[in-house]
Symmetry: C2
Subunit: 195 residues, 2 copies
């Protein structure tokens, strides 16, 4: 075991310190305005060291924007609580971690960030939703439901955390859940209105 001092870090610890600073900086400033220099300063590390660890701002962003929604197994939740549980889970994940804010700020102008966002929402959510509809047409329909869920949850994040729009940012958490859970429930399990 390594002795911990203020001046000595393992490579993994240095990576972690840089990634934390990067997430905060990308979340606060967006991709274009965040710089290796400012991230290095936040991490109290030489910019050359940041470059040695990650190679470029693009690669640093890719590493910082790894994100697991850590979705619960939806088939194990009571069916009429799916919407509320997912809204609460989403608020927890958003508020507990700067990564989604960094991703959303970057994804409107940066293709790598947009692709990561697609992977998170389509890639992680789609298969879970497919399990809720075992008799259905399957993956294409589940991908549409995952996408619709993204419209509501990313729109909520945009208006509550990013812009923010006052009346949405100020809503108590329980009120957010009360308004939005039925919408999420609709996208998860309501019959296809065009079928």
């Amino acid at each position: 075991m390594t002795e911990q001092t203020g001046r000595r870090r393992t490579a993994d610890q240095t990576r972690a310190v840089i990634l934390t600073a990067a997430r905060e900086r990308f979340a606060a400033d967006g991709y274009e305005r965040a710089t290796i220099r400012s991230i290095a300063a936040d991490a109290a590390i030489d910019p050359a060291m940041v470059m040695r660890y990650f190679g470029s701002k693009e690669k640093l962003f890719a590493a910082a924007a790894e994100f697991d929604l850590r979705l619960p197994d939806l088939t194990e939740l009571p069916r009429d609580e799916l919407g509320a549980r997912l809204v609460e889970h989403f608020l927890d994940r958003w508020e507990g971690d700067d990564t989604l804010m960094a991703l959303l700020r970057a994804s409107v102008t940066n293709e790598a960030a947009a692709e990561r966002m697609r992977q998170i929402f389509a890639g992680q959510l789609g298969p879970l939703i497919a399990h809720l509809h075992p008799g259905d047409a399957g993956d294409p329909a589940a991908a549409v439901r995952a996408g619709l869920l993204a419209t509501q949850t990313l729109g909520l994040a945009l208006c509550r955390y990013v812009l923010p729009i006052g009346p949405v940012a100020d809503l108590p958490r329980a009120t957010v859940v009360a308004w939005i859970a039925p919408v999420v429930q609709r996208y998860l399990i309501a019959p296809d209105p065009t079928a």
Copy 2:
């Protein structure tokens, strides 16, 4: 009346040409990456002329991002068609004009753009919604409904036009309306679930 030639424009025409180029460029590149130089090149105008007309990139953006949602009088629409009519109206406004795309791309990192977005969604939508609830608590409740509407409609725009997320971008217009109209309807007129 001024004779029109390829080389002669009135000041209003020059302004209009610059603003069109600016909207397209801000929409495509986002606020940070768009430059006076690139906008001037698109407009086939000297960058110094763009500066003479607008003074700075910030002021050019402010002028380019003037936007009227041109919302219909909601009280004159059949109550059970409100959601569908608003979703269709929103898709029309989004697809017919680069301004909202420019605003959404800019608003995640630029405070002036975020403020404009708040004015459009809270300022233009809130009072119209208040008219749907004449007996209600009034403006604060209407502002919450306008904000919730923004979460769904901006989230839809984000996923359909900006990122885009394939399954949402590829949905036929009628399918978008079928899925999302009941959600918009909910935010406009459903009883407050916390009341």
